[in-house]
Each structure stands twice: as structure tokens, then as C-alpha cells.
């Protein structure tokens, strides 16, 4: 079995009276695609934001390859090797696709506080290599502001890979995409995860994506973990069925 990359222990977060995340523990191994699912309001996004540093946990601990992440700001967590993509894409709209990736590379190599050499001439080959991996090389010179949504997701992925991360955190990676695009993006992600030995944790509403691409699935409801296992066992789990009740099958439901 490969090494554990991300480990969260007993994470808790309250918002006033709401226990958004309650004693959640999880682990992701290198080369593994772990899906975090659950109905709306289950605490997935809060859980994610505790992992990536956007929110500070009330209790619990997060470790990346044994190093503690608890209490660090997002930028410090990134430096330790965590790449992120967002539910609603966030890229630099006033830059070209290549420049977006160059920005991430410049930051990775500690060149941000330099004032002389033109940025667009730096890390060209590296950024093009990353763009080639996500299939965006042909569009490298287009401004990010004019890209289609699915293409932006790919750019985000390339940026997330720029610091050679150990862990990918993807918050609803296929939200807002056409079904065919979804499959393509997840296939791409999976191949990258396998090739680079990354750990990947993602949340998702589309059950086709989840059951088709996750190695393992954990299910949250009302802030707590209620099930964990491979696709078949989660599908068969009565607690999961109850949470998603009404849809009969979980497939395709939102």
C-alpha cells in the first residue's frame, strides 16, 4: 500500500449553533482518488476549507506527509505542496493562459519579488509542458477572460500542478460543465494522479463522476462521516441510501 499523503484527525468546526463539521477524520494515499460526497449542507465545503486553510478548525489536526498544516494560511499550505481548483473557477482574467501558469511557476520558484526580467519570457517551456498535459497548449496565448468554462477548469488544473504538489484538492471539479467534458476532465485528472503519484481529494455532486472515477468514497451528512468504502459498498450502504432517499438510485441526483 502506498504512503498516506493527507491525514485529517477529528476535525470540528462550528458556526454559531451549527456543527458544520463534527469529528471528521480521513486519509488520502498517494495515487488515490478519494471522493467526498454528501447532500447539500452536509459540510463538504467546510471540510474542504479546513483542509486548505481557508477556515481554521475549532478542533482537530491536518497533516500533509506527517507535517502539520493546522492553522497555516492557504499560501503556506500551497508552498508545502497542495494544489487547488475551485468550485467556481478562479484564474487571472487579464492574463493569457500561459501567463496564468507562468505566475504559478514564478511563485513556486520564489521569483515574485523580482522587478527586472520580463515575466513572459520566464518558465515558458515549463508552462507549455504543463499546458500540454492538460490539453490547453493550443490556447496558450488566449486571454483567460474569454475561455470556455471547461477550458478554465483545465487551466486551473495546470496551475494546481505548477508547484509539483503531493496533494490535489478539487472542490466540485466538474460543476457547470457539459457531461462529455466532465468525463474528459476526470479521465485527465485520474491519469495525472496515477502518473505523478498524487493524492487527490475531490467533492462532487455528479454521481456518474464519483462512481466512475473515485477509488474510494467517503460520505458526509450533517457534518459527520456516515460511510466509507469503494463504489459498490457505498452504493449498498443503507445509511447512504437513507440520506439520498427519494431518488431511489443515487445516480444522477443532485
Amino acid at each position: 500500500m502506498s504512503a498516506t499523503v493527507l491525514e485529517a484527525r477529528s476535525l470540528s468546526k462550528r458556526f454559531g449553533g451549527v456543527h458544520a463539521v463534527n469529528d471528521v477524520s480521513l486519509a488520502v494515499r498517494a495515487g488515490e482518488m478519494l471522493a467526498l460526497i454528501g447532500p447539500n449542507g452536509a459540510g463538504k465545503s467546510t471540510c474542504f476549507n479546513l483542509l486548505n486553510g481557508q477556515l481554521r478548525a475549532d478542533a482537530g489536526e491536518v497533516r500533509l506527509s506527517g507535517q502539520t498544516l493546522t492553522g497555516l494560511p492557504p499560501r503556506a499550505i500551497w508552498r508545502l505542496g497542495v494544489g487547488r481548483t475551485f468550485q467556481i473557477t478562479a484564474t487571472f482574467a487579464s492574463m493569457t493562459v500561459r501567463e496564468n501558469v507562468q505566475c504559478a511557476l514564478l511563485s513556486h520558484h520564489g521569483r515574485i519579488w523580482t522587478f527586472w526580467r520580463a515575466a513572459r519570457r520566464q518558465f515558458v517551456a515549463e508552462s507549455d509542458a504543463l499546458l500540454a498535459q492538460v490539453g490547453m497548449l493550443e490556447q496558450a496565448d488566449r486571454p483567460c477572460g474569454v475561455l470556455a468554462y471547461g477550458d478554465l477548469k483545465r487551466v486551473e488544473l495546470a496551475m494546481a500542478l505548477a508547484n509539483d504538489p503531493k496533494l490535489l484538492l478539487m472542490d466540485e471539479p466538474t460543476a457547470g460543465m457539459a457531461p462529455s467534458e466532465r468525463i474528459a476532465l476526470m479521465e485527465l485528472t485520474k491519469s495525472l494522479v496515477r502518473a505523478r503519484g498524487l493524492a487527490c481529494l475531490f467533492t462532487e455532486h455528479d454521481m456518474d463522476v464519483v462512481f466512475g472515477h473515485a477509488d474510494r468514497i467517503i460520505v458526509m451528512n450533517r457534518g459527520a462521516l456516515i460511510a466509507e468504502g469503494d463504489a459498490a459498498s457505498v452504493r449498498a450502504n443503507p445509511a447512504v441510501r437513507e440520506v439520498y432517499l427519494g431518488s431511489g438510485e443515487t445516480s444522477g441526483g443532485h
Binding site: F92, S94, C103, I112, A119, D141
Partner: protein
Amino acid sequence: MDFILIQFLTGLANASALFLIASGLTVIFGVTRIVNFAHGSFYMLGAYLTWTITRALWDWGGREPALFIAGILLAALAVGAIGALIEMVLLRRIYRAPELFQLLASFGVVLMIQDLALAVWGPEDLPLPRPPWLRRFVEIAGSRFPRYDLILIFVGPAVLALLWFLFQRTRFGVLVRAATQDREMVAALGVDQRVLFTGVFFLGSTLAGLGGAIVLPMQSAFLQMDLAIIAEAFVVVVVGGLGSVPGAFLAALLIAQVQAFGIVLVPKATLVLVFLVMAIVLMIRPYGLLGRPQAHARAATGAVEPVIRPAPAILGWAGAAALLIAAAAPFFAGPYIVTVLVELAVFVLFAASLHFMMGPGGIVSFGHAAYFGLGAYGAALGLRYLAVPMEAGIVLAPLFAGAFGLVFGWFAVRLSGVYLAMLTLAFAQIVWAAAFQWVEFTGGDNGILGVWPSDWARGKGAYLWLALALCIGATLLLRRIIFAPFGYALRAARDSELRAEAIGLNAVRVRLGAFVIAALGAGLAGGVYAYAKGSVFPTYISIPKSIDALLMVLLGGVQTVSGPIVGALAFHTLFLTVLQAFTWWRFILGLAIVLLVLAFPQGIAGFVRQRWERARGPEAA
């Protein structure tokens, strides 16, 4: 004890007038999202119109209090009508333009009204003759207190109550409150925005006019009322929380008391004190006393900042040619032209430094003149107290400005949008007040004279070459930085702070870096300007100077790197030619600004660029 009571009552009386102006401003901002510089002009018109109308009424029916009140109300309504007219003719056309252009247009209105007031009422201060009933005093705790001031104390709360009734109990008020929260939603529900906006402008302008009217018996109507009050009104609105009328009331009380006691306790630093209070409030409550974080106004234009690309080669050649001609000027042109060229070089750098933080950084400063002035004073004070020669003074200037930029910027870059702009304005006013009031150290209004260059730089062309080398060199360096990794990081922090943090950038620190770099640039410009003029004055730091910088940047276009250069040249040329050719230069400049905003909402360089790109396809490199 008595003294404290009297000062307290004076503060309350002043708070009333301040509240009237600020409540109008805050209501207008809340609904239309326009930072209306012309609000101070409405206040001034209120005072002038009251002077005219009341005197006419008194000539007709005797100096009766009732006629005075009638005069005040008539004047306020007239100002309201003028405000509504300006909204319909001008502002309505630019609601979809970027915020800053609306601000500029309203500043154009300020200039026009200044000259109109000068034409109608002349340059003299106009005091209202005070009949005996206006001069009465009442005995309070053994001291005499003006009866009129006592009445004023109740005007503020009365207007607050009326506004409360209007906003809570009438359909118009409900719509105004709804629009303050989400104007798109109100429009989606089928409310005619045009009527609503015009109505709000009428209301706000009437309040400003009323404010100007009620202070007339205490002071005169004079031409500098507009900008003097607008800075104070901004402070009150920001301290109270943008869009909040009760907040404006609280803030008016606070600020007026600070002024009333400040004038006794620290007479040299009342202005500093007021702005210091504002800075402290904003540090503790970044959205003011009763303000809420602004709901992100949905981008009306959907405009995305365009990709910055290196300028076309032809632009580089044109720039080089212009620079060569300028450098050769001493051989064929007179001393006047050479002086103008020095100023042009200075203002190009001044504008470029503001653009550096405004364009790529998205940090809009209303007080950039502070750093220009600090540079100039840095050189002058160095000469006065340390007897440093020009060579050291030119180094001292940007460092002095940069040090203040570091301190002020540390607070400012944590805020955004209008609050950030207002905080920069407040800091600039602190610096201005120090230069103006601290006479022993800075020479006050008389400035510091005798700031001349070293001998070698005094020749006909020598100082021009020095100015060109320093200013154009620094401007090119700023351009270089925009294209360097730091410039990209700055744009990254502007485009998406979330993503910037997610790739390891410290957005706040990057913005602070940009703030300091901009201050260094402006400081150098100020230093070069000081030696060119041989003197420094507080006007270098005044609001109009900051507006000049904004005008240059916006005129040229924020989104292009060449914009500030084009803007500075265009503005300065326009300014000089217009200034010399016409008596009514303010009016013409104001009109020019308004027309430019209407014609080129993206600035001149932005317009040319758009044409260029349209001709060559949208994504052409």
C-alpha cells in the same frame, strides 16, 4: 466645566450642518454608487442662493424670521432641482461607466459650478446681514451662547426624524432602502430606476443645499466652500458607514465634537485630529460605525481587464522621438518651453506612479498628491534643517515619501474600493494639514523658499536633462516592473485574490509593495518639481492635486501601460493652453472633463487601443 458645556453645544450645532450634507451624500451613494464630488458644490450653491433669495425677500417684506426660513427652504429646493437636473443631463448617461469616471465627471461639475458661482456672485465673501433677532444670545451656565446655534442643535435630529419617516413609512423610502441593498433586484422587480435615481438625487441635493443654507448666518458664502466641506463630508460618510443615514448622524456628532474640542486643545492640529479619528475608526471597523460590507455590485459592464501586452513598436519609436525632441529643446526653444517640458516630465512620472498601483494593482488612491508633496517637502526640509545639497535632496525626496507610503499603505491596502480611496484621501489630508498648520516646521501657507538646484544643474538645459533622465527613467522603470514578475503578481492579486493566495502569493504584501513603489515614484516627481520651482507649498498636497493625478491616469486610460504618459501630456497641455487662453478656465476644463468622460469612458489610450484591436481582430497580439 462651563467651557466644556459651551464647546459641547457648539459641537452639536456644527454637527447639524455636517449631518445634512453627509446624509445627502450617503443616500446618493447608497443608491447610485456614485461618489459625488459635486455634493460640496450643492452645499455652496445652497449658501449663495440663500444669500440672494433671503435678501430679496427681506427687501420686499422686512427682515422677518419667517422670510428667512422661507428663503432657506426655497434655496434648498432650488439646489435640489439643480441636482436632479445634473443627474438627468449628465450622470444618468454614465451609470454604467466605471466608478472612477463617474467621480471624474462629478469633479468636472465641481469646476463648472465654481466658475458659474464666480460669474454670478463674484469673488468676494458674501455674509448675510444679521438682523437683531439673529444676533441674540442665551445665557447658559453663565456664558453667552448664540440663540441661532441653539436652534441649529435641533435641526439635525429633526431632519434625521424626517428621513426616518421617509425611509420607513413611504413607498419611495422603501424603494430607496431596497435599492441601497440591491439595485439590480429592484430593477428586476419592475421599478423605474430613472425616476428613483433622479428622486434620490433631488433629495440628496436638497439636503446639501439646506446644509449650506443654515450655516450662512454663521459664516459667509464663499467660493472655496465646496472642496472644504466635501472632504469633511466624505469623512463623516465613511466613518458612519457608506449608505447609512443613522451612521452619518453618529459620525457627524463625533467629528463635530472632535473639531469643537480640538480647536481649543490642539489648535494647530484640528485637521490632523479629524482625519486621525477617521483612520482609527476605519482600522477598528473597516466599514464604518454602522456600515456593512458592500454587497459586490454586480459588474454592470461585465468588463474584464484586458491582457496587457508590450506596446506596438511604433509607440516605442514615437516615444523615443518625442524624448529626443524634448531633450534638444534648449537648443531651439525659449526658457518658457523648457520650463514646461520639465513640468511635463514631472507629471508623467507622477501619473505613471499612480497608474502603477491603480491599473495593475486596482488600488485607487484619492490622495496620491500626499507622496508628491512629501517628496517635495522631503527635499525642502532636508535643505532647511540639514542643509543637504540637491544631489542628496533628490535621493531624500522619494525615501521620505516612500517611508510614509509604507506606514499609510500598511493600513490602506487592507481595505478595498471606496473605503480604500477614502482612507488614502484622509491620509493625504493629514499630510496637507501638517504642512498647512504646522507653521514653525513647514512654513505653513508661505511654504519653503529657496530650494534651488546645485550650480551644475542651473544652466538652461541642464535641469531639463536632469529632470528627463530622472523622471522618464523612473517611468520606464515602473513600466519594466509591470512586465516583470512583481507586476504579474500585482495583477494576480487584483484579478483574483483567492487564486493568488492559492498559488502562494501574499496579496496584501504585494499590494503594499506596489503602494510603496508608487509613493517612491511620486516622491521623486515631487523632489524634481521642488527644485524646478525653487519652492514648496501645501498646495502640492491638496485635493485638486490628487485629482490632477487621477485625471491624468483616467484621461489616458487605466488599462493601458502607456495611458498615464499620454494622459499626463494631454492633461498638462490642455491645462496650460486652456488656462492661458480663457478667463473661465475652470468652467472649460470641467466641461472638457465631462465631455471626455461621455465620449471616451475608457480613456484616450484605451479608446485608441480598442480601435487598433478592432481593426486587427479581438485577440491579435
